[in-house]
Amino acid sequence: MSTPDVAQRSVRSSAASRARSFNIARGVAAAAAAFVILVGTASIDRLLAVFWLFGLAFGFVLQRSRFCFASAFRDLFLLGDTRVMKGIIAGLAVATAGFAVLMARLLPEVGFGSLPPGATVLPLGIHTLVGGVLFGIGMVLAGGCTSGSLYRVGEGYVGSMVALLGIMLGLEISSHTWNWWWESHISHAPRIWFPEQLGYLGGTLLTFGALLLCFLAVSWWEFRTSIMLPPKRDEVHAASSLGEHLRALGHTVFVKGWPVVVGGVALATLNVYLYTYRHPWGVVAGLGIWADKFASAFNLGAGELLGRSSLAGCAFEPDTASALGHMPLLNLGVIAGAFIAASLASEFKLRVPKQPLRYVQSIGGGVLMGYSAGLALGCTVGAFFSAIPSLALNGWVFAGALAVGAYIGVKVLNRIP
């Protein structure tokens, strides 16, 4: 090896370690700022602080585990890959157990037509199906769902920033057609909550059974479309000192990507814990408030939305909701948490798509997602990840529709270079 070659290598590696130090410093600074905001919001309103903190946690976990609902559904059809879907199923199982216990405490007596406060039990009808299919198409085209887009904004993806704008635009358009949907379908759509007929144990067992069936179906699908690979085992090294062991641990948590099952279980656990404060995780409520405030500033607001006050889940909060209320703050927390995680891992980078077509996909997919989430009263988080654990049938119907939409989306994607 010639001397200039070695010299060049060491210049590159010292530049790399300088870059890494800068990234870590930025991550630590951002974490400190987040803590200051936490203390600040706590002095105003405890609920704000809670939702900011959970947002940070969700964002951190999403970035570390590269967790995306869009990829879970899409990769089934695009690549015959079930890895992310299995992570979701694991998460759903954990959240179901937790939500069931929580709901049983909130509403011990079932069978009288009441619902536990905060549970994402939504009117179920055509709007759920249409919403799910359109959302599935949109998330595939935009390269990410709602939570996926939020965390990727924190990572520096310009495409996701565009998608987020599209989502808010779609939500606002949805508000303008809401009254028609309410009167034709949503107002007389039933809410089907398993414990009403089956009790909590019955509802929970039914949900676990269905999740097991999904796991088996997804495994069969992978087997059918490609060779099944055994899970990769990382090599195990014996650390020679406590310092080395801790360094390796730090690397695993803050630098290396997390297995998606770990991500799913962590998100589910956070969701259960969040629900104990007010209601489970949702993304669209916060985005809808921003969209509404923006539109209203130009006198383009949708006006009175019939029936919204009677709905749970990701329905609009009343008009008095602040643009920095607990749901918007949750979303901001996700972006911030993802930014912190990405910085610490040296994974933050402003990623700018080169093809103009990608911007069209991101905006178009975003608008589809926003519109359909308005219809379905939630997205892959509120109407799926929080709805299935709420032991609600609408979660399953929406999931089925998402799969159909993702399938169609893949067909469309295959035609786009």
Binding site: A19, S71, A142
Partner: protein, 71 residues
């Protein structure tokens, strides 16, 4: 063969890599330059299904080179 998919939105890094692998001559190797973390999880598995072994090296902040060779 070299493939630069930096800046691409999901799922194009993965999709373009798989398409390139399918067109690759058996003796050739594919070097993919990407800035998309999910690709680091998905590409090795997809490549393994086509009989390729993946080696990932960090080449910059949030930039990786995935080298795929017939295994």
């Amino acid at each position: 063969m070299k493939l630069d998919v930096r800046g691409e939105i999901c799922p194009y890094p993965q999709v373009k890599t798989v398409a390139a692998l399918k067109k690759l001559a058996p003796s050739d190797q594919l070097e993919v330059l990407t800035d998309h973390p999910p690709a680091l999880e998905t590409v090795p598995a997809q490549a393994a299904r086509l009989g390729y072994v993946a080696e990932i090296a960090e080449v910059g902040t949030a930039e990786w080179c995935i080298v795929l060779r017939k295994g």
